[in-house]
């Protein structure tokens, strides 16, 4: 992977001037490359990684396994595309194994998520079954540990 993308994955807020120095290129080059990645759809957005356990008004989150019937024309894609448009669905993947779609869903309450599943997802044409697992605690998200590793306890100077 382009080291620029690696650095942005680690900290998307890093100023262009710093990225330029780290990679030994000009700031103009950094801006052009990021713009190109956005135009190509490689970069789809920039987000903060939040620890829901530290948020006062955190959403309830659930993982849902969905079995669906593929269609003669279009396979899984058409139904998957319909499901992915619900704003409650944060992430969604087509999977190998015992089910087809894995959804990461959020809602303001347990009830809201349950309603979404029973009223929106389950009745959809082509959905064969759902299995909903509520998330209890976040240990790591997007490669970020929610409890940091112990503070830098190295000696302040050493030879």
């Amino acid at each position: 992977m382009d080291p620029l993308l690696d650095l942005l994955k680690k900290n998307a807020r890093e100023p262009d001037a710093v990225l330029a120095k780290e990679l030994g290129v000009t700031e103009h080059d950094i801006r052009a490359r990021i713009a190109a990645y956005q135009a190509e759809g490689v970069i789809r957005g920039f987000q903060a990684v939040l620890n829901p356990d530290r948020l006062a008004d955190a959403d309830v989150r659930a993982v849902i396994e969905l079995r669906i019937r593929p269609e003669r024309e279009g396979g899984f894609d058409r139904i998957a595309s319909r499901i992915s448009r619900f704003p409650q669905v944060e992430s969604m993947f087509l999977m190998s194994g015992g089910f087809d779609l894995l959804l990461f869903v959020k809602g303001q309450s347990l009830q809201e998520v349950a309603n979404f599943v029973s009223a929106r997802l389950a009745p959809l044409e082509g959905v064969l079954s759902t299995a909903t697992h509520f998330m209890l605690k976040t240990y790591k998200d997007q490669g970020v540990l929610m409890e940091s590793e112990p503070h830098d306890d190295r000696l302040q100077v050493c030879p």
Binding site: N11, V18, K21, D152, Q156, C158, P159
Partner: protein
């Protein structure tokens, strides 16, 4: 008969008493007493030891692998080291008789010197250098002979300088590239020329290459890759820098069997063996840890680029080092000495850098800045150095 009884101090061996306390010790103590210091003074990786390595160490305790190992180190680890030497340096070392696992490179250094030096033997070593070399030579009853390296050569060691200091008493040439504190590395021509020099003067070479995995460009040119040197080379390396395993205290020596045997005599009586737990961790690092090294090297590389560009922008002349995780900027343009600059930067802006003189007299006018620290503290340190420079 009256006797004058000795005080505690009188029992200290004279050759040890004469070794000055590390000049940098005072500076370290001041830094240690300060709060909220941004330290570019830490000669230690900032990464946590990769989890899979720590996990193996934990498992080894769970499995009860907490006994003495073979004095030389476990056969599996020595075999893995032999493979690593072949893979990385095209150097063939027999795992049964030519590899010895030590408690860090520090122990390796000590036993290497003690194994080969007789009182009064001279050892050529280059400055600026790691603070332990000269004291270790003295403790082995040798005579340290410093050879200067210069900014104009990007702190590479030249044969011309060596020729000025070699004498009939010279027995050993000691090398450390990539170098702490300058980050200097050797090119292929340099290693060849140094090998020729050693052969011409019939010297043993001790090469500490603990930073070799942290070479960013220009290729790795190890003394171990020079076949004609094999019979007169003691090669030292360790796990601390490559895999961020400083606290595991794990290093190793590769040397021809008679020399390994000689070092083994000391090691078996003073150490028995390196920690069994650390050896398990080291084996995991060698077997599964290549991707960790690649990722850490890339991260250091980016920080190196950042700090070198930033320091030069601030007017502190700084060459682009090709190895280790140090930069060695000159502060001569400020009119301050290394020590004055470092003390004022610490006192007025709470940033710690080590004065170049800590690493030898020819480090005067320079600072060692370690960039093995997060990019955010690095940015803050650069900001503060900039503010400090504007007040001068």
């Amino acid at each position: 008969m009256t006797t004058v009884s000795k005080s505690a101090r009188d029992f200290i061996a004279p050759h040890l008493r004469d070794i000055p306390k590390s000049g940098i010790r005072d500076f370290f103590d001041i830094v240690a007493s300060r709060k909220d210091v941004i330290s570019l003074g830490i000669g230690e990786p900032d990464f946590q030891t990769p989890w899979h390595i720590r996990e193996k160490a934990i498992a080894s305790i769970e499995n009860g692998a907490t006994r003495y190992t073979s004095n030389l180190g476990t056969p599996e680890l020595r075999q893995a080291l032999s493979d690593y030497m072949r893979r990385s340096f095209s150097a063939a070392y027999d795992p049964v008789s030519e590899i010895l696992v030590t408690v860090g490179v520090s122990e390796a250094f000590d036993i290497a010197l003690r194994a080969v030096l007789s009182p009064g033997d001279e050892v050529l070593y280059h400055e600026p250098c790691f603070v332990a070399y000269a004291p270790l030579i003295r403790m082995a009853h040798g005579v340290p002979v410093a050879v200067d390296t210069f900014r104009k050569d990007n702190f590479r060691l030249t044969v011309a300088e060596l020729e000025k200091r070699v004498t009939p008493r010279t027995r050993v040439l000691l090398l450390n590239f990539p170098n702490n504190p300058t980050g200097a590395t050797l090119d292929k021509e340099d290693t060849e020329a140094l090998a020729d020099f050693a052969l011409r003067h019939d010297l043993l070479v001790i090469s500490d290459e603990v930073y070799s995995e942290l070479t960013y460009e220009g290729g790795r040119h190890s003394m171990a890759a020079i076949p004609r040197l094999r019979d007169r080379l003691i090669f030292l390396n360790g796990f601390s820098k490559a895999w961020s395993m400083t606290g595991f205290r794990l290093g190793y020596v590769c040397a021809p069997a008679p020399l390994t045997d000689a070092m083994m005599k000391i090691h078996q009586y003073c150490m028995m063996c390196a920690s069994s737990i650390s050896q398990t961790a080291g084996l995991e690092a060698l077997r599964q840890g290549e991707p960790d090294v690649v990722a850490m090297r890339e991260s250091y590389n980016q920080r190196r680029n950042f700090i070198v560009a930033s320091l030069n922008e601030l007017g502190l002349d700084c060459f682009m080092p090709r190895g280790a995780f140090y930069v060695f900027p000159s502060v001569q343009s400020t009119g301050l000495t290394s020590h004055e600059f470092a003390m004022r930067l610490l006192n007025e802006y709470n940033v710690a850098c080590v004065p170049g003189t800590a690493f030898g007299a020819c480090g005067a006018g320079f600072l060692r800045c370690a960039y093995a620290t997060g990019i955010d503290p690095l940015k803050e340190a650069i900001d503060r150095i900039g503010q400090f420079l504007r007040t001068l």
